[in-house]
Amino acid sequence: MKYLDEFRDADLVKIVLDKIHRVTKHHWVIMEICGGQTHSIMQNGIDQLLPPKIELVHGPGCPVCVTSLELVDKALAIASLPNVIMCSYGDMLRVPGSGKDLFSIRASGGQVKIVYSPLDAVKIAQANPDKEVVFFAVGFETTAPANLMSVIQAQSLGLKNFSVLVSQVTVPPAMHAILASSENRVQGFLAAGHVCSVMGYHEYLPIAAKYRIPIVVTGFEPLDILNGILMTVEQLEAGSFEVQNGYNRVVSKEGNLPAQALIKKVYMQCDRNWRGIGMIPMSGWCLRPEYVEFDAETRFSVENIKTKESEICIAGQILQGIKKPPQCPAFGTLCTPEAPLGATMVSSEGACAAYYRFARYEKEES
């Protein structure tokens, strides 16, 4: 398949792997930001082929994983209301709130629909004028343009029964939080290719300079990831700390300017709580006051949310690269994809789910 097979080619992979083995002299800890990359690494077994001196740790770039428990609980409360149709990306349905998930709300009679595109939620609102239709707008910069298009479209259609529950987060503040932490181990970043396709990579330049850390914009196929690792290791071994683009078939320095203009028009920066990590200042987006009529948080009074997080789950430390999934006492025993304690065990982008699916026996064998 065009643009996929070429980047999974075993011979080309071997050439890049050989280079990585040749240039790696010291022990390096590299974080892939995006959960899609974590998944690809585990699915293809990339980690097994790297020199032992390269340690990959898994970043916070899993939208399902970092959506705050409070917002998940709000979504559950709104979805339970009698006249509401809650529309969500499929991945969110199994995310545990404080005791329930959207699947169990649906089983109890709540109307919860999986949509493939935010614009499908708008269509549902058009088709159901007597219902309140809410779209759970989660995600990083990647999903922001599509998510906000639903608001713009609903506005132009004059829909009064459509709103969005926004849980929009951004990558650079999370990188700052990780690097500023006293427990930080990360020495190089693979930046998330899809996020950069929207935002470009100019906003990483100050981070690389401030923390003296190499950042390489990286794609998702095996060859993309290995190339990103190679570029990062070459910088680390040479002591340089540039921002480089290893995914230039998709990403430009400026990114998608029309999409950025729309983001500025509809969203503004706000503080966000990251599940397991805590509040990161100015790390997300919420609707501008002009669009408040589409804000589900103001439309529905779902106050008094009392969140209750699992006491065992170490998802927060995993999302910051401090620990790895098999180091969690509940991994694969109390916590499985069928009965997840934390969101990292749910999503196809979650690090715990990736380890469980592709490498869960390594714990018992090591």
């Binding site: 398949m1 996929l4 999974r8 075993a10 992979v13 071997k14 899609g36 585990m42 699915q43 293809n44 077994g45 990339i46 097994q48 082929l49 939208p63 399902v64 990306y89 499929g90 991945d91 969110m92 349905l93 199994r94 999986i114 493939y116 595109s117 499908d120 989660v138 995600g139 990083f140 990647t142 999903t143 899809h194 095996p222 499985t336 994809p337 069928e338 999503s347 196809s348 982008e349 469980y356 699916r357 592709f358 490498a359 869960r360 026996y361």
Partner: protein, 356 residues
């Protein structure tokens, strides 16, 4: 209600005689009375006719001279939409049960079929589905010998549910079953994976793209007998339906307490199915098939089995995909296309499209 909106008069209103040619199923079709008889005469009998069924009893009497055990299987079929590219719920119901019986090595002798009809179902759709069942039964050489219909109120079923049961006999003694895989065996698959799941998903129309993929639903009993004629020591026959190849192989590895290692490079997937899966975040190894056969066979019979599979219409894309080894027992491993090895797990729950 204004004066004008009131019905002119209710005097003389009578319950109308049921029309003989409804274009939709009504509750009366499940009454057991004349309307039910009409329904059977018009929608079922013309297509499914055979001497046993035509006898019109509440039971089927089969003249069979069977020595030895019987193979029996039953299956409930639900699918939305009822008719999809490459098949429909009727074809699915016949092929599903024929295949389940055939996977034991048995020759299927007959099927029974129960229909739960939802009030409002188009009788034209029903006839189309029954015709399709008849065609599949004819192709499989397995008559439908008994049946039943019930009607439920609108909203209590999704158009039509079909439950089928099948039974068969063993012309020879085989030791075929999920627990029979042995180290050294070869794993064969009869063709491309994921066609059925992607065909049905795209036919639902809620994806923003279309595919040309058609379901692979097919009766596999003839191919199985052809395989057994040249490879009588086959250990496992299985059709990787719900949960796909990965889930089915895990069941076999667990039952047989062996390891199955398959090679990603050799697994056949149509480009359109691969593309759809990439866009949705699905893995074709977990997507349903309805006309594919896994054969686990000793090495010395593998080439012969593969050759006859390739000659069959439904096995043209047959190939070797892996091997059975001793350990780690109970697990399936995948050699990835870049040369690493990882666990190939069972599917956890519903497959969910990813966010980005």
């Amino acid at each position: 209600m204004t004066e004008e909106e009131k019905p002119a008069s209710i005097h003389g209103a009578v319950c109308p005689m049921p029309l003989r040619h409804y274009d939709k199923i009504v509750m009366g079709h499940g009454s057991g009375g004349r309307m039910t008889q009409d329904l059977i005469k018009q929608c079922f009998a013309p297509y499914l006719s055979n001497p046993v069924l035509d006898a019109g009893n509440d039971f089927a009497t089969l003249s069979a001279n069977i020595n030895g055990p019987l193979a029996v299987s039953t299956d409930a079929h639900i699918v939305s939409p009822l008719i999809f590219p490459g098949g429909d719920i009727g074809k699915l119901a016949v092929c599903g049960t024929v295949n389940d019986v055939a996977m034991s090595g048995a020759v299927p002798l007959g099927l029974t079929a129960s229909f739960i009809l939802e009030e409002g179902l188009s009788t034209q759709t029903l006839v189309e589905i029954v015709k399709s069942m008849a065609e599949s039964a004819l192709e499989a050489g397995v008559p439908i010998v008994a049946g039943d219909t019930k009607v439920v109120e609108r909203g209590k079923a999704d158009g039509l549910f079909i439950s089928t049961a099948g039974f068969g006999h063993f012309p020879k003694n085989f030791a075929i079953g999920g627990a029979e895989a042995k180290p050294g065996d070869v794993v064969l698959i009869s063709g491309t994976l994921g066609d059925h799941g992607i065909a049905v998903l795209t036919a639902r129309g809620d994806l923003a793209f279309e595919t040309q993929v058609i379901s692979d639903v097919a009766p596999l009993n003839h191919m199985i007998q052809q395989v057994l004629a040249v490879a009588p020591h086959v250990h496992v026959l299985r059709d990787p339906t719900r949960g796909g190849l990965a889930t089915t192989l895990n069941e076999i590895a667990e039952q047989s307490q062996v390891n199955i290692t398959i090679d990603e490079k050799t697994i056949p997937v149509k480009p359109a199915v691969q593309t759809a899966c990439e866009m949705l975040g699905f893995d074709p190894l977990y997507v349903a098939n309805e006309g594919k056969l896994i054969v686990i066979v000793p090495e010395n019979e593998a080439d012969a089995a593969l050759a006859v599979m390739k000659e069959n219409t439904y096995g043209k894309g047959a190939c070797r995909i892996g091997r059975v080894i001793e350990s780690p027992a109970g697990r399936v491993l995948l050699k990835t296309q870049i040369g690493a090895t990882r666990v190939l797990d069972v599917m956890a729950g519903e497959m969910l499209p990813r966010i980005c």
